[in-house]
């Protein structure tokens, strides 16, 4: 392989990568279906979610730990909801530690989960498989 071809391929890939990154940082991810649910409280809740390392046990969109359930739709899931989430956050369980959080912190975390809930579905239970192996998501029933 000539040195010129090598350079062309290498720098071509790097240029595509930079363009791809910029588009992803902007238009590729600008659609947030739950924008209306972003509040100061939910923003604080997100930081608390990180501070207490909730992701080591729980998942958001199937990403995170496996000890506890995926929390993406804990607010809207049948048989669960805001009060259900709050009680777990406040008291913990046999597996989940009680972090002795203040009422404000509990509210902030719940507010964050309410925002997450409106962004989409996880796990996706209602979908259609297309001929090329891709899927079309539908609203979870």
């Amino acid at each position: 392989m000539s040195i010129l071809l090598k350079r062309f391929l290498f720098w071509g890939l790097i240029s595509l990568f930079i363009i791809n990154s910029i588009v992803i940082y902007t238009s590729g991810t600008e659609n947030d279906p739950a924008k209306a649910y972003i509040t100061e409280e939910s923003k604080a809740g997100k930081l608390l979610f990180q501070e207490y390392n909730c992701i080591s046990c729980h998942q958001i969109y199937g990403l995170g730990g496996y000890m506890g359930p995926d929390l993406t739709n804990v607010i809207s899931e049948r048989g669960k909801g805001e009060l259900y989430a709050k009680s777990f956050i406040q008291s913990g369980t046999q597996r989940m530690p009680n972090f002795h959080l203040s009422e404000n912190d509990v509210n902030a975390l719940t507010s964050y989960l309410k925002y997450v809930d409106k962004t989409g579905f996880s796990p996706v239970k209602n979908f259609e498989i297309k001929f090329d192996g891709t899927i079309m998501q539908k609203a979870n029933l």
Partner: protein, 442 residues
């Protein structure tokens, strides 16, 4: 220490591996037996395990590069002092990270669960490594073998993806969940690609030394494979976020790019026969044996990776233990096997330490125990993950119901983990003793 900085990295890397395996084993038992070893709860154990194992990968790969460049590539290090500062900075930051986990202080991001402020010294240590590397290798005249490209790529992309992983500190990224998750996993996926570049470069280097044939690392095919790997590193990460509602083209692009890995798979199968003949010839040589094992694990993990990159399969496997099987299979089967080959190669070379038969046998038992346990470990995780995926989507069971059903597989997985820990302990203790003896003499 003055003579061989690489060996100090190797010493720390083995220590990090053993500590990481210890915390990992405890974590897996906490997973199946609530209340087990409550002194360090699971949410502290898991980051300890992840960070220490990631440190093993980085430290052993870096140690190899620091050792190989002056010794075998005829490229004296640009600055030995800079390498010493690098190791100290890495070590002290590592201690601070462990302390922060123990104190329950987190940054709460996958791979980088430590407080964000500690990312600064980590970044600086990599900048030092990068300066030292480039100032050293840019002296080389003529065509670079592909492993020098791979190491350079690994360093540059680590610095880029590490920075990208911390874009969340800006509200523009943090406050939009879709953007935050996408950028986080774009960075996370490429980060794994960047350490793979360091590790696969190391594999090529060790293979070149064993074969004594320098043409392989300069061949056309080697460069095409490198470019294919680079393309996957840059664009093939979105299988992590197929279900996140991003712009659809992000998913399609990644799906298409991931399928190019079929080319790598074909090449492995194509090369199988000649590799087998070579394997028979060099099997007695311990580092080579680890490279052969990594070849088999690459084959198995690549099949798994390709399958879970197909959206119709991913929808069932995402967020299940199959993802863990893929991650662990790659980290232990591929990365650790290659890095152990490199570590054994360096230790035999630098210490002139001849392993006696008893030690060789201990390493061999460790080798087999690790590989057989890893196979069982992966099988149990794949079964647990497949069952979880089906039970969630088809049977729509609750989390508790699913966990109850897959519990026997998870218990078996935890015990297979003990086998891996024991196997790697047997494999690494003799070389660790050799390193300690060598460093004491120095």
């Amino acid at each position: 220490m003055k003579k061989e900085i690489g060996i100090v990295f190797i010493f720390l890397s083995i220590t990090a591996l053993l500590a990481g395996l210890f915390f990992g084993t405890i974590s897996s038992f906490q997973f199946v037996y609530p209340g087990f070893f409550d002194v360090i709860p699971f949410f502290k154990n898991r980051p300890l395990h992840v960070s220490l194992v990631v440190s093993w990968i980085f430290l052993s790969a870096m140690g190899g590069i620091y050792y190989y460049l002056p010794k075998y590539c005829g490229l004296p290090l640009f600055s030995r002092k800079m390498a010493v500062v690098h190791i100290w900075l890495f070590f002290i930051t590592g201690l601070l990270i462990i302390t922060s986990y123990m104190m329950g202080k987190f940054g709460g991001r996958e791979y980088w669960e430590f407080p964000a402020i500690l990312a600064i010294p980590v970044f600086i240590s990599w900048v030092l490594f990068g300066i030292n590397y480039f100032k050293t290798v840019l002296k080389k005249i003529g065509q670079w073998p592909v492993y020098l490209w791979m190491w350079a790529t690994g360093i540059c992309f680590f610095l880029f993806t590490f920075t990208e992983a911390y874009l969340w500190v800006f509200p523009y990224f943090r406050n939009n969940l879709i953007r935050d998750l996408t950028v986080q996993w774009k960075a996370g996926g490429a980060l794994v690609g960047s350490w793979n570049m360091l590790v696969y470069g190391t594999a090529l280097f060790v293979m070149e030394r064993i074969k004594g044939d320098e043409s392989v690392a300069k061949s056309k095919l080697a460069f095409w494979m490198y470019l294919l790997g680079l393309t996957n590193l840059m664009f093939g990460w979105a299988h992590h976020i197929y279900i996140v509602p991003t712009a659809p083209w992000i998913r399609y692009l990644s799906y298409g790019i991931s399928m190019t890995e079929l080319l790598i798979l074909s090449k492995i199968i194509w090369n199988w026969k000649s590799s087998l003949e070579q394997a028979k010839k060099d099997y007695y040589f311990l580092p080579f044996r680890f490279l052969v094992a990594s070849d088999i694990w690459i084959f198995l993990n690549l099949i798994l990776a390709i399958l879970i990159s197909i959206p119709a399969v991913n929808i069932y496997t995402h967020g299940t233990h199959i993802t863990v099987a893929h991650a662990m299979g790659s980290a232990i089967g591929i990365n650790t096997m290659i890095l152990l080959a490199s570590v054994l190669f360096i230790i035999s070379d630098v210490t002139k330490f001849e392993f006696v038969n008893v030690q060789k046998n201990i390493i061999r038992v460790g080798f087999w125990l690790t590989n057989v346990s890893l196979l069982l470990f992966m099988i149990f995780l794949v079964i647990a993950g497949a069952e979880k995926g089906m039970l969630v989507i088809e049977n729509k069971l609750t989390f508790q119901e699913i966990m109850q059903k897959i519990d026997p597989y998870l218990v078996s997985f935890a015990w297979a983990g003990v086998g891996i820990f024991t196997g790697l302990l047997l494999t690494t203790v003799p070389p660790l003793i050799a390193v300690i003896k060598y460093l004491r003499k120095k």
